[in-house]
């Protein structure tokens, strides 16, 4: 773990420092320290129940650590709500995507961030900006006026990612963004994730797909049973080593 500190010389955008969190007798997180560097895709891997989702929820304002700190740009923060994290520039692409099926693409992109004029929705401007957001980032995205219900899984993922990428977010957290997608759609979403990084967003990626982690990320953190057991630069590790770290076959 110590070798990593040097590589993130620019200073992490978000950092968990000795974070612990229990739900009753279940120790979901124990003394977890990870960093997310700007302009990088950071992967978070681990078995089911290892604490990955709990950790990212500490970043996105859902949970508050019972001990330890979350730092944003090196300064400790305590988000009181997901909304607070959002306004600090931390966006989350939820596993269930958090889209309203009966609303249109543009309505979902601007949900709770609607643009208004004289108190009324500025539909024209939102549609135009939604079109811009979508066409800048994604391929294979339908009209912004179509309802999400009509979209494929990959298109929904793209809409969700576009929403997270828009509004000048700095860190985009993605919880298994390709788990429910086919091969082609997975490829498209991966392309989208790379493009996010190239545009300067930091990405924190939870994934069970080790090939994907190796393909996309620059940094991998491995969690096991509520602890962060290892961190590796991706170019200095292999899928095999990651699997070993996750299962505990390789001691960290």
């Amino acid at each position: 773990m110590n070798a990593l500190e040097k590589k993130t010389a620019a200073g992490p955008i978000v950092e968990a420092r000795n974070v612990s969190l229990s739900f009753g007798s279940v120790k979901a997180l124990q003394d977890v320290s990870v960093t997310v560097a700007p302009g990088e895709i950071t992967a978070l891997v681990g078995d089911n129940g290892a604490g990955k989702s709990t950790l990212v929820r500490c970043f996105s304002g859902v949970h508050r650590p019972q001990s330890g700190e979350v730092l944003l740009d090196g300064r400790p923060v305590a988000f009181s709500s997901p909304e607070a994290a959002r306004s600090a520039g931390i966006e989350t692409v939820h596993q269930n995507l958090a889209l309203v099926e009966d609303l249109t693409v543009w309505q979902n992109l601007f949900l709770n961030r609607e643009l208004t004029r004289f108190g009324m929705l500025d539909r024209r401007r939102m549609k135009a900006e939604a079109q811009k957001m979508v066409s800048e980032l994604a391929v294979n995205v339908p009209e912004v006026t179509s309802r999400v219900r009509r979209l494929s899984g990959g298109q929904r993922q793209a809409v969700s990612i576009c929403r997270a990428a828009g509004f000048s977010s700095r860190l985009v957290i993605m919880d298994e963004p390709t788990a429910a997608l086919g091969v082609q759609e997975t490829a498209r979403v991966e392309e989208l994730i790379l493009r996010l990084r190239d545009e300067g967003h930091a990405v924190l990626l939870i994934s069970h797909n080790f090939d994907q982690v190796v393909r996309l990320s620059q940094q991998v953190w491995v969690m096991r049973a509520g602890r962060c057991v290892a961190g590796r630069r991706t170019d200095a590790t292999t899928g095999q080593e990651i699997v070993g770290l996750i299962t505990g076959a390789i001691a960290a």
Partner: protein
Amino acid sequence: MSTAATGTPAGPTASKATPPANRGGAGHAVASRLRDVGFWADWAALVGLIVLVAVFTALEPSFLSSGNVTGMLSASAALVILAVAQTFVVATAGIDLSIASVTTLGIVVLGQLYAGGQSLGVAFAGAVLAGLLAGLLNGFLVAKAGITDFVVTLGMLSAASGLALVLSDGQPVTVTESFFFDISLDGPVEMVTWIVVIAAVIAVVAHVVLFHTRFGTHVLATGGSPEAATATGISTARVKVAVYAVAGLLAGIAAIIIVARLGSTPPAANTAYLLNSVAAVVLGGVSLFGGKASILGPVFGALLLTVLLNGLTTLGVSQYYQPLSVGVVVVAAAFLMRFQK
């Protein structure tokens, strides 16, 4: 098919997106929509209304006489308002079973204030306030106390109608005010009385609120996906309190309209208003699962139900058949909804 012309940014990815303002294929689009079952499901109330009017007029030409049309429109005013009220609640995937009882509570409060020598303005304000308070209580119990909407509003159904009986001692108050004749018999144009104008204005305002304000979008999001709404920071609890409050407020306004037409304040709840408000919403293509709503649809639904009852009466069909016919129409409409997209 789509032509990537009219002003869309000509990036490599824009070719797949059809420009929204593509009016070229309008005629073609209309034809294809008419073949679409979903289109008929969306407009079931309007189509049903037209069919009913045609059938009743064919059987009884006086059905479309100016006197009868005036009467039908006036009779539909209160139901239109209650259907709009119910739409807001149903759009959040809730239901307000207390809507008719709260209306009756408003009627009785109006009557008691009037009988107590208060001015008409005070009596009106009392009716609206009573409705608003009942709606707020519904909303708080549903959203904050976490009790199921069905149970909360069922309780309010009983409590409000009971309170109406207690306040009025079961006695109606006769309200003879020329103002009431003015608004329920006169109007700006022939066949349209002022109470119809009030209902129409409420429907237009409701449409604007639902589709052109942030609040309206949040109502639809709360009903469509509470998880997504919460994830984007929308307070679904606050939205729910608001929609029940709106429903109560509109029930209070409906109370005034009913008193204006009757010239008295009947203290017993008219349960037909509850069933018909839900029926109008279903006929109007609003999903009872929330998230998908329309104001025009329920308004046409309310008109359809009024026309149905009036037509049957005009044809001399026994009153006993009226609830039966409403039931058949509503279930038939619900069946059509299965094809909705």
